[in-house]
Subunit: 273 residues, 2 copies
């Protein structure tokens, strides 16, 4: 999977990109890996270029967030249409979804009449070949387009809407793709051994434990070392994965203690789809 | 400027990308705009591809974070060397910086002897044509490479190190480039008017206030609207910028109140370099 986040607010540092983090974590937990995250502004050409480059790498899934709303700066669908060299047109299914939302607001006394003004109709104007996905809590439908084996999915940027649509419409696709695969991770926290001293011990453990990836995360400076060692693997067999993880964490912990490092805590987590 | 963040931890959702957010905010405040943020994993080919693509867009600055440390998974400099089609070699200035750090640790009784082991020497092995930038609080030097008019800057991923080097070595370059330019922003919070109703009012205000960018950020759903309107501009003349901002916020606030919306609070901020 690749993720494309769209919004000037991300490029000016106004908004922390929690959407990318949430999607990356959720996708990884289902045994699907995220290869790249790209952030661009609210600009049709920037969006189109990012989409073209991403599609050229032929990922199974591309998920975009942001830029589906009613205002002029919501340009994601125009950018995607430009990338795919197709037109934007009113999608009847999407219009039904949008109309139903505003009719509902009237029914619940939240507005007087549900005029489908141009900004509201805009949310139902999709690239040709696109189909809408229901947005259970917002007004702008999400969008799915199948393109040469890639499922291109456009989600809103409001986190609650993005997460709800992701769970409802995208997680089932990811589960189908991943089969029984799952992501396993464990952390060991180590004190009193420098990262540069740890380096060859990590190398040795990785060499002797195929399929386990170990990454060191320094939590302080080299001279007062406090380091998180993060072990991870994606596997189809939970029991075998747990055994491999156990062996690797035990082996590296032993090597570290021999060199005078202190194992502080160990935490293991398994994310099952 | 473009930013490239390197680290599997970002792609598995283990780490929230606060580095990109911090750099984007700081860079924008100095009147320099960030055009794209790319996140890739600890993989030489992925890093090299991202660097090549970014350099092809010819930004004035490219800043990378992460992947400069002593462990096998620190691959940024190899990725950059591959992108530039040049070799990695021991840089004497970088080696002096690394050696000074470990000598210092010995002097302060934090280690017995300062052997320059291969993982430590690794931090001084830079792409040809690169020069090290001092890292005041960590061991791995940062790196600067001038390439066809782009300054390519590689910083560590540990936030405290990244921020310190950015302030010390990069902010002066950005200020020189930006001259007197500065970024100005203001927010107006609005209740009881739907984003789809706001859309034409924002359009009108932007049409009549050149140079001011207005973006709506819904903080809740369309039927219980609470929306932040964010005004921004980059300008060389603080006083003129403030006047333009004032005019735009006043005009849009008036239009909103006429349509029954409630202006809740207004906040203006000027970031001066």
């Amino acid at each position: 999977m690749e993720i494309i986040c769209i919004g000037n607010e991300l490029l000016i540092g106004k908004t922390l990109n929690t959407n990318a983090n949430w999607m990356a974590k959720r996708t990884t937990s289902l045994g699907i890996s995220v290869k790249r995250i790209t952030v661009v502004g609210d600009d049709i050409n920037e969006i189109a270029t990012a989409v073209i480059e991403t599609l050229n790498r032929k990922p199974r899934f591309v998920v975009t967030t942001g830029g589906l709303g009613p205002t002029f700066d919501d340009k994601t669908l125009e950018g995607i249409a430009k990338a795919l060299n197709c037109k934007i047109k009113l999608n009847e299914n999407a219009l039904k979804m949008v109309r139903a939302k505003y009719d509902d607001f009237v029914r619940h006394g939240k507005m007087e009449k549900a005029d489908l003004t141009p900004p509201r109709i805009k949310m139902a104007r999709l690239p040709e070949k696109a189909e809408p996905l229901p947005n259970p809590i917002g007004t702008a439908p999400a969008v799915v387009i199948d393109f040469n084996g890639t499922s291109l999915l456009a989600l809103p940027g409001v986190p609650s809407e993005m997460e709800t649509i992701f769970e409802q419409s995208i997680v089932p696709m990811l589960k189908k793709e991943a089969g029984n695969a799952a992501f396993f991770e464990a952390s060991v926290f180590v004190d009193d051994i420098m990262e540069s001293t740890l380096a060859p011990l990590i190398d040795q453990t990785m060499r002797e434990n195929a399929f386990i990836y170990i990454k060191s995360h320094p939590k302080s400076e080299e001279d007062t070392p406090h380091i998180e060692l993060h072990f991870s693997t994606t596997a189809k067999e939970p029991k075998a994965a747990r055994n491999l993880m156990g062996k690797a964490t035990t082996q590296l912990s032993g090597l570290i203690e021999k060199r005078g490092g202190k194992i502080k805590t160990s935490r293991r987590r398994c994310n099952l789809s």
